[in-house]
Symmetry: C2
Subunit: 171 residues, 2 copies
């Protein structure tokens, strides 16, 4: 069984950096609550500019329990890390370095940096974006983030944590 | 119909740079004939080191007719450029820049930089490596390069040029 695991919003948390960069630009400190139900670039109108800055993707915090649970998945499944990255060329090397630092058991052979995930062939996909899960044919797991929190998830299994993924997938 | 097109050995030609870097290191100028039937890193024993040097992938020459024919494929198919890249992290940004320069009609949405191509879902794959075509389920086209020239291609359609790809795929 092959699992495609997203990076941003699933392994890495971009919100703290969006909040910091937004405050630096506009002098307004957004709370996580204010971002609920809003697309990331709606909550942070210049978010796409922050994503183009050197260091943005290199310094994202790791999402709780993802290291521990992904290590277990790695033992039982064929794991690929599949990340939308080519929109922000600087992110390519930064994402690979970030992954090597925080998930050193994942090799370069398991990393896919792409623009569209339509080309991905796997059995299970874990992502925080409906638009990426919606056209995936296998089992889909929606990782809860503020931007997807208010949308009803019918086809996709919604989880709130990596511990929940552990319960679902680790046998 | 979706086509996955390889970069090195199909759009970009690494041989001239391997020959130049090998000569700079060993003082021996290899001819293309000497490399026939040998894996790239067998013909150029330190080739993997040249691949790690800044600029290696950014400056590769474009393979004849690839721009003209790929532009036609781009009109008639869903084209993805799928390149093994994560083994050489420096290559990630260089490959994207190279593609933007020489194939400006290809957007970031169509680029996939990966370690293994097993995860690619497409109908047709054009590649110069047997090992990548062998596990692909769709139609396979082997682009002739010195390293694959002496191996019989049974399952894969061997082509010698982009004009041949044009005859095969452009309707």
């Amino acid at each position: 069984m092959r699992i495609a695991v997203d990076m941003d919003g699933v392994l890495a948390n971009p919100y703290a950096q969006f909040i910091r960069d937004h405050e630096a630009e506009f002098g307004e400190r957004k709370t996580m609550e204010e971002t609920i139900g809003k697309a990331e670039f709606e909550a942070f109108p210049n978010g796409h500019l922050y994503c183009q800055k050197a260091g943005f993707f290199r310094n994202l915090p790791v999402i709780a329990d993802s290291q521990r649970v992904l290590a277990m998945l790695h033992e039982q499944y064929e794991v690929f890390i599949v990340s939308s990255a080519t929109e922000f060329p600087l992110s390519l090397a930064e994402k690979q370095s970030w992954l090597a630092e925080h998930f050193s058991f994942i090799s370069w052979r398991q990393l896919v940096l792409c623009g569209s995930k339509q080309i991905v062939k796997a059995d299970i996909m874990i992502d925080d974006h409906f638009k990426l899960l919606d056209y995936f044919e296998g089992q889909t797991i929606l990782f809860t983030q503020p931007h997807n929190q208010l949308t009803e998830s019918e086809r996709h299994k919604r989880v709130f944590s990596w511990s929940e993924i552990e319960s679902l997938l680790v046998g």
